[in-house]
């Protein structure tokens, strides 16, 4: 039992270490790009050419500002869903924060998020690389 416990602990600490490392690397990556005056590209897309579930959201928003809804949806068809979930989550978490409660989303909302991101990612491949 004590051995199992320390192994679990080790896995936990390694995973957390990797997560922190990646986060730190990402911050440096963005800082470097912004410093050179360029909008930072996504690490994953840059390294592997694979799009992310949220790839195209920035360009999609630019398209909406131009009134081009079709282009916006082609850039990222899940954008309205992301927007809805984001607004809902922000309201829920904001109220919890004001009331000094523990910040937590209901499991159904958590599932909606995961589903939306998976669908958004799949949609990138269906629409094709011209919109990556």
């Amino acid at each position: 039992m004590p051995i199992l416990r320390s192994q679990t602990r080790l896995i936990y600490q390694v995973t957390r270490g990797i997560a922190f490392g990646l986060f730190g690397f990402y911050l440096l990556w963005n800082a470097a790009w912004l410093f050179s005056g360029v909008l930072p590209p996504s690490i994953l897309t840059e390294a592997t050419g694979i799009p992310c579930p949220t790839t195209g959201v920035t360009r999609g928003m630019a398209a909406i500002l131009n009134g081009d809804w079709v282009q916006a949806l082609l850039w990222n068809p899940l954008m309205p869903v992301y927007a809805g979930l984001l607004i809902y989550s922000a309201i829920v978490l904001g109220l919890q924060f004001i009331r000094r409660k523990r910040l937590v989303l209901r499991p159904i909302i958590a599932r909606f998020w995961m589903l939306a991101l998976t669908m958004g990612w799949a949609a990138k491949f269906v629409i094709g690389p011209q919109y990556w």
């Binding site: 679990t8 896995i11 936990y12 995973t15 957390r16 990797i18 997560a19 990646l22 986060f23 990402y26 690490i43 994953l44 992310c52 579930p53 949220t54 989550s89 978490l93 523990r102 910040l103 937590v104 989303l105 499991p107 958590a110 998020w113 991101l117 990612w121």
Partner: protein
């Protein structure tokens, strides 16, 4: 319910807080890579957390 392995108290352990689990940290890492704007999600999802329990008598951490 097993007794506390330090003080032998048979009182029910109390939940002190919820921490991100190893799986939660893994999801955080994936989100950092794939979509950083949403990397906060594991921190507000209970399924990504593990509970920390304490012996109410001596305060040692318990499973």
């Amino acid at each position: 319910m097993a007794a506390c392995y330090i003080c032998g108290s048979e009182e029910r352990p109390v939940m002190v807080k919820k921490n991100l689990s190893a799986g939660g940290w893994a999801l955080f890492a994936v989100l950092v890579l794939f979509c950083i704007p949403l990397c906060w999600l594991p921190f507000v999802i209970d399924g990504c957390k593990e509970e920390e329990w304490k012996c109410p008598s001596c305060g040692v951490r318990r499973a």
